[in-house]
Symmetry: C2
Subunit: 424 residues, 2 copies
């Protein structure tokens, strides 16, 4: 990736936006830059030329793009009635905030989404000065560390989510874990709804599932990675991390939107394990194409803060996201943030995944560096979880060898049955 100008560190903080406005785009974007730096709605005495030179945001780019002419969001100024869209880049002096991720949020993604001038505004990318790389650890494990701990090389980690998401007691969760370990699973995660409820409390669950994980490691010399959901308050997360580590676990999981940026930063400072970052809630941040966050911009912040694995949904998923968007998200996790400090995170595919999506996933991503997690795709396999795991291994082997699944299925009953079962 060396030489890619997109990942070179920059002198100023830069953010890209897709905007939509019915007023003069140049004027609208000036308001945006003003709102997010030294401007006020009415000029005030202190707003000198020197101050602006020192602290004002700059409009680096304003490029009109196609637009169907309809305002995307309500409440915007009508202007001349002509709705235009544009790609915009703003930049800020690093000195405005220093290399602080929380303050970066307020600067690049603060009040601007509510500005009357815009009937649409979405942050699409971010580029940061090197000082951010100096300050934040980024993923401590990433792909290399995840492969080392799980002992899986040169292919995706085949993973699953404990299902039902919530309601299994400790014994049932442990039994299922044993079944999955026996089936040769590489990766297991708690559902994001499962943290420390009464039916399946964290400590008892961790002890019970990691017993099977450790037994498997002794037997096979390869330890399945179990991402225990530690989401909670900071002291709880740290304590659960410590417990996981002490019990021989190799991964913790958190819900990013539930804990927030300071939660992840603090947990990452403390953590000696890979952090599996769940993005639940992502829909409210992103689902309208002219509002909120693109994954490209959003995931950079969490990777810098310390996320090792980032959820990206999956092809032909049960949600509303298009395949093209899923692949773009996965690719962005694998794209360095800085030349000298790539902060690459392992993308996690999930949601309605089965053997069927492996070939298209590999073809599009052109990398085996991912976690491929299936819930029903493993546990709903007609011959049980072990057959589900086998079907996924077979599907990925086929995909990476460039053989179609139907050609690969004969003599492999698990894959054959998966192909007949899953409609995805």
């Amino acid at each position: 990736m060396t030489g890619n100008p997109e990942i070179a560190s920059v002198e100023r903080i830069e953010a890209d936006y897709r905007i939509e406005t019915a007023v003069d785009p140049e004027a609208a974007v000036d308001v945006m830059a003003g709102e997010q730096s030294s401007g006020t709605f009415l000029s005030v005495p202190g707003e000198t030329a020197e101050l602006k030179e020192r602290s004002a945001a700059r409009v680096e780019k304003l490029e009109l793009i196609e637009c169907d002419g309809q305002p995307s969001l309500p409440g915007s100024a009508r202007g001349d009635g002509v709705v235009r869209r544009a790609l915009v880049t703003l930049s800020w002096p690093l000195d405005n905030i220093g290399p602080s991720l929380p303050n970066l949020m307020a600067t690049v993604a603060g009040n601007l989404f509510e500005l009357k001038q815009f009937s649409g505004l979405r942050i699409t990318d971010l580029r940061l000065p090197w000082a951010f790389a100096d300050r934040y650890s980024g993923p401590k494990f990433g792909i290399e560390g995840t492969r080392r701990l799980s002992g899986v090389h040169d292919r995706p980690l085949i993973g699953t989510i404990i299902k039902p998401s919530i309601g299994l007691d400790v014994a049932a969760t442990a039994d299922l874990t044993r079944t999955l370990c026996d089936a040769g699973i590489d990766f297991i995660k708690d559902d994001e709804l499962q943290s420390d409820g009464r039916v399946c409390p964290f400590d008892a669950r961790a002890e019970a599932v990691l017993r099977h994980v450790n037994e498997t490691a002794e037997r096979t010399a390869r330890k399945p990675m179990f991402a225990l959901n530690v989401t909670g308050e900071l002291d709880e997360m740290r304590r659960r991390h410590d417990r996981t580590l002490a019990l021989g676990g190799t991964c913790i999981m958190v819900s990013l939107n539930a804990i927030g940026l300071v939660g992840l930063i603090e947990l990452a400072k403390h953590s000696q394990l890979p952090i599996h970052a769940h993005r639940n809630g992502w829909g409210y941040l992103s689902r309208h194409p002219m509002l909120g966050w693109s994954y490209v911009a959003w995931q950079k912040i969490w990777r810098l803060a310390g996320a090792d694995h980032m959820h990206v949904n999956g092809l032909d998923n049960k949600f509303c996201e298009e395949n093209e968007s899923v692949i773009r998200s996965a690719k962005t996790c694998l794209t360095p943030i800085f030349h000298e400090k790539p902060c690459v995170a392992m993308p996690v595919f999930s949601s309605g995944q089965s053997a069927k999506q492996a070939p298209a996933t590999f073809a599009a991503l052109n990398s085996p560096d991912l976690i491929y997690a299936a819930g029903g795709g493993i546990m709903g396999h007609p011959d049980g979880p072990a057959a589900g795991v086998a079907s996924l291994r077979q599907a990925w082997q086929a995909a990476m060898e460039g053989t179609s699944l139907t050609d690969f299925a004969p003599g492999r009953p698990e894959l054959a049955k998966a192909l007949g079962t899953y409609s995805a």
Copy 2:
């Protein structure tokens, strides 16, 4: 408010949604309840009737409402092509997560926004079992504590934001603070863009501005409240809080969406000062009416976590929000969450505010329990900040006495000039 069933604590966690779907609404809502509890997209062995009884989310209400027939968001299932909207209530057993605000987020506002079944989904309210009140402090100061510390009773606190938002150095910020203190201001806040940049570092700023605040308190026996923006990492926020407290300051400010829920919970545990909660970024959470969060639902979480002051925008603001929505937001901050533990927060009006909006604000809110913050409305007053403050005091006096501003203006040149200056 006693006797209002809306604020009675409930046995189960309850969340209300506005949904839009082109498939059978009952089926769609069943998917929603399943996704957020014990359901899987393919039935798995462990999903027993007993488990569902214990842990499944329940659909408590499904009420069709009017709809223009157009899907609001892309990517949804087409179903029978008829787009319907409904009000929905789901409930969950408390035991699924226990009284944990971070895990509440993943449960009531997790994956569901991305479900293919919905072309619109917005969380509109939340009701929580008492266990949440037991666990979380709520605002430690709220209205009563803010009035005690600021010495302002029976009327709004007249406030302002240091402007330009960013770029003033410490000396200029301190000079402006002295001017505002001399003018009799009740409340001053840093802009959310101003935290610990090189031009105006936190420690030096805190010391400089609080010197004037303290001098004012000695002189007038009333200490203006200065909300210093401590937004940053947890150790920074705690240290800045301690510094503020040691210097005699009476308020700290944070950007909620920048620090996240764990950030606020931890800061609130530590804090001995009112927490002024800035909602910048709110636009990306809320601006599409069929996506994301209503303020009614969202602010409950932050109040429980410890926010004392909550931003609500202002009437005739420079943003896209309608006045009706602003007032609904302010009223909800003043509505108890629990009978026995109201957790009431002080609403903060801001954005393009001047003397002009005082009467309508008071008429709609029917309460003087608010902070009324004007930036340009004070510092852009033609006769300077002191006249700006005076004009706001006069406007609120008129509003609360039921006199029109034009009737009140003669003999009050500050108000008269404000009426001629601000177009809001």
